[in-house]
């Protein structure tokens, strides 16, 4: 069924249809921010600024932070 309706449409025109911005925006806002928070914890927490006190986060991701290219200490 699905195959017979999709078959006449060439691949290119099907993929060229952009996803509407209205459909992307809510995901981009919520998950974009969430992902940036994750990056912050890997890249900068307890370095430049600290939300959690101590050195635990910094020390735990220490090697990854250096090797991924973030300034560490």
């Amino acid at each position: 069924m699905a195959q017979s309706t999709a078959a006449p449409t060439p691949t290119t025109t099907q993929t060229l249809t952009p996803l509407p911005l209205r459909a992307i925006a809510p995901w981009a806002v919520f998950f974009g921010v969430l992902m940036l928070v994750l990056l912050y914890f890997v890249g900068a927490e307890q370095g430049a600024t600290a939300l959690v006190s101590g050195e635990g986060v910094h020390e735990w991701v220490h090697d990854a932070r250096h090797l991924l290219g973030f300034p560490c200490h």
Binding site: A2, Q3, A6, A7, P10, T11, T12, Q14, T15, L16, T17, P18, L19, P20, L21, A23, I24, P26, W27, A28, F31, G32, L34, M35, L36, L38, L39, F41, V42, G43, A44, G47, A48, T49, E55, G56, E59, W60, V61, H62, D63, A64, R65, H66, L67, L68, G69, F70, P71, C72, H73
Partner: protein, 247 residues
């Protein structure tokens, strides 16, 4: 329907990022840890006070490294999947796989390679702890500028393409990007503070390992996500090439 597609792509992007993170972790452990250890040995031989160890070196180089790289992979995968959703069908006549590959390439260049040309990755012992705030701010600023200018270049290329043709438009956009990034790099202050006597070869090896890790991460993500995205967006067992031949 479209919102569901975005959600599916986002989830698959994060999964592809996780898998790419596993490969990048293996690469980092095998190739990168040697130069981290060398830098720490230098640090200790120069009586840099380090206090008591919160996390042991063996944990930092295994579980700690894995945590950092995997979380980084998931986050990068999610953001790149969202960027892919924007790019799909908007950057030219590319299918899902090609768009994913281009998104990953753009991510590698704009989020990592261009920023580190100005502020390269530094091993332990390199960098003054007192300037960490400033160095982090400059690094983030460099990434933001690179992403903004890169996005601007893509928009410029798309605008010029109808009149100038794809080749000329892409070259012009690329040159404009390089020129603008060059100006930004010239204006921003220096970031390096390499201690006297730190072996140049170790520094280069560390930085090369860092580039390798990010290259593994982004290329694995681009290829994997392209495969996963194509199955969402072009769900047919036999695709494109075969159907055009038989049609």
């Amino acid at each position: 329907m479209n919102s569901t597609t975005v959600r599916t792509l986002l989830v698959r992007g994060m999964l592809a990022g996780l898998a790419a993170g596993v490969l990048a972790f293996v690469f980092a452990y095998v190739v990168g840890e040697g130069s981290v250890d060398a830098a720490i040995a230098f640090e200790e031989s120069h009586s840099h006070e380090h206090g008591e160890e919160l996390v042991s070196r063996s944990l930092q180089s295994t579980a700690g490294l894995a945590t950092g790289v995997l979380v980084f992979g998931v986050a990068i995968g999610g953001i790149a999947a969202l960027a892919f959703c924007f790019a799909l069908g908007r950057i030219g006549r590319f299918g899902a796989r090609a768009t994913a590959a281009l998104t990953a390439l753009a991510g590698f260049l704009l989020v990592y390679l261009v920023p580190i040309l100005k502020y390269p990755a530094n091993p332990p012992a390199v960098g003054d702890p007192d300037t960490i705030g400033q160095r982090t701010a400059l690094f983030v600023l460099m990434i933001a500028l690179s992403v903004l200018l890169g996005t601007g270049a893509v928009l410029l290329g798309r605008r010029l393409a109808p009149g100038w043709g794809n080749w000329n438009a892409s070259i012009t956009a690329g040159v404009a990007f390089v020129a603008a990034v060059g100006v930004a790099m010239a204006v921003l202050p220096h970031g390096d503070n390499i201690p006297k006597g730190f072996p140049a070869a170790d520094l280069w090896e560390f930085r090369l390992a860092s580039i390798g890790i990010q290259a593994v991460l982004w290329s694995a993500f681009g290829l994997l996500f392209g495969y996963l995205a194509e199955r969402v967006l072009e769900p047919r067992p036999v695709r494109g090439r075969v159907s055009t031949l038989t049609a």
